[in-house]
């Protein structure tokens, strides 16, 4: 996306090739070599020069896409710069220049038939999480002020249990991200002497007991079968927390758990 709708039009600009020139449609013939864009019969252009022109002409500088696969990919059409562009994705957002990402409207959305699930691959639910945290500057203590998880698990058999699992997954994710350490070797839990005193898991007091919202999306289509969702509800909680800690402190932690002591150590 960035090349086709950002860099390539900027390169045409630099080459002074008009959009109705046949060469303007030959982006697939171009390639990169040593940081330069090479196209048949044209002057090689360095990436920084093309990137700068992309920014001045407010071209595409960022792209985010979402796809879905069930033996075949979902598909949709997006209108970009007056052209219809169809691809194996079902959502697309673009950023122009240094602007914000803007989600594009889609048409002709097609999801592979539910029957394709019989081809063998199994699918789990999708889940994403957002958290709002507060960190005490003096102590590094972290408090989760609010949590939000959104998931799609097909047709939920017992919605209350799905919500319960999502809440429990949130609690487990908090433990995984902030508390639970299982070191290897003689001093670790493998020595058989550990209790919950060493292996610290999340208690109620670590959680936003009144401020966790779980949003269960409707199934992708009416025939969608139920999908496993017991583990997935924990995974994004960890990323959300570590990203929130990065937002708050400017420090990117690369190992888990991120304990209060570690957070305190990077506060200035």
């Amino acid at each position: 996306m960035i090349f086709r709708y950002g860099l390539w039009p900027a390169a045409l600009d630099l080459w002074r090739i008009a959009s109705n020139d046949p060469r303007a449609a030959q982006w697939e013939a171009a390639h990169w070599k040593d940081g330069q864009l090479i196209a048949p019969g044209l002057t090689p252009l360095p990436l920084p020069q093309i990137a700068a022109r992309t920014h001045t002409r407010n071209g595409v500088t960022g792209a985010m896409a979402h796809g879905f696969n069930r033996w075949a990919w979902s598909q949709a059409t997006f209108a970009i710069d007056g052209q219809n562009w169809t691809a194996d994705i079902d959502a697309l957002a673009l950023r122009r220049g240094v602007g914000k990402f803007v989600r594009l409207d889609r048409t002709n959305v097609k999801f592979p038939p539910t029957d394709y699930s019989r081809s063998g691959p199994t699918y789990t639910a999708q889940c994403g999480t957002l958290v709002r945290i507060e960190i005490d500057r003096a102590t590094g203590a972290l408090r989760i002020a609010k949590g939000y998880s959104v998931l799609e698990c097909g047709n939920a058999l017992v919605p209350q249990v799905v919500i319960g699992q999502a809440q429990g997954g949130f609690a487990m994710g908090v433990g995984y991200a902030l508390l639970e350490s299982l070191p290897l070797y003689e001093d670790g839990p493998g020595n058989g002497k550990w209790t919950l005193g060493q292996y610290v898991v999340a208690r109620g007091s670590y959680l936003p007991l009144r401020d966790l919202e779980i949003e269960m999306l409707p199934a992708v289509d009416a025939n969608e079968r139920p999908k496993g969702m017991a583990e997935v509800v924990m995974i994004p909680v960890v990323a959300a927390l570590v990203n929130a800690i990065f937002d708050a402190t400017g420090h990117r932690f690369r190992a888990l758990p991120v304990t209060q002591e570690m957070i305190k150590g990077v506060l200035t």
């Binding site: 319960g164 429990g168 919950l196 005193g197 208690r203 109620g204």
Partner: protein
């Protein structure tokens, strides 16, 4: 060996001779077959094994059983998860746990039930302001570990029981 007499859910057991090292958890589960009380961490850190101990003055408290000798319960009166329903009718709290889907695997449930019941009775004796309720519930239940539903639904269930009868529990 020690002689043990204990009242459990209103019924007296003993006197019986027990080893000094026998835990109350083993006594309940292995000697009496009262397996509703669970054995969890074995270190009094998860409280799935907690029971209610009733004092003669009408007050009560909860106690773990996994690392506590059975002999130390001699002469005491306790309640376990088996004692909450009366004549096959679940208690208000038990119904609330079910209505809220508070538990899933159920391993921590007996401990949460006993702790929450003790809390309700404590509040009935000494009511708290509404503003203090959330903290009161949170502190009462914080010793108990849950790995399925992550506490949220237990707290909601207890809160609902209290808010459904504010004159009884709240100032």
């Amino acid at each position: 060996m020690t002689t043990l007499s204990v009242t459990i859910n209103g019924r007296t057991y003993g006197p019986t001779e027990v080893r000094d090292a026998l835990t109350m958890n083993d006594y309940l589960r292995e000697y009496l077959g009262l397996t509703g009380t669970k054995f969890g961490c074995g270190a009094a850190q998860c409280l799935s094994c907690a029971v209610i101990v009733d004092n003669p003055d009408g007050t009560s408290y909860t106690s773990p059983t996994c690392i506590v000798p059975a002999a130390s319960f001699n002469g005491k009166s306790i309640r376990t998860v088996e004692g909450h329903a009366k004549n096959g009718e679940l208690s208000t709290l038990q119904k609330a746990f079910i209505d809220h889907f508070a538990f899933q695997c159920g391993y921590c449930t007996a401990g949460f039930l006993n702790e929450s019941q003790a809390l309700l009775e404590r509040l009935a004796r000494k009511r708290v302001p509404r503003a203090a309720l959330e903290k009161t519930i949170a502190e009462a239940l914080d010793g108990h570990l849950c790995r399925c539903t992550g506490y949220f639904k237990y707290h909601e269930a207890v809160r609902d029981v209290i808010l459904a009868d504010p004159q009884r529990y709240l100032v």
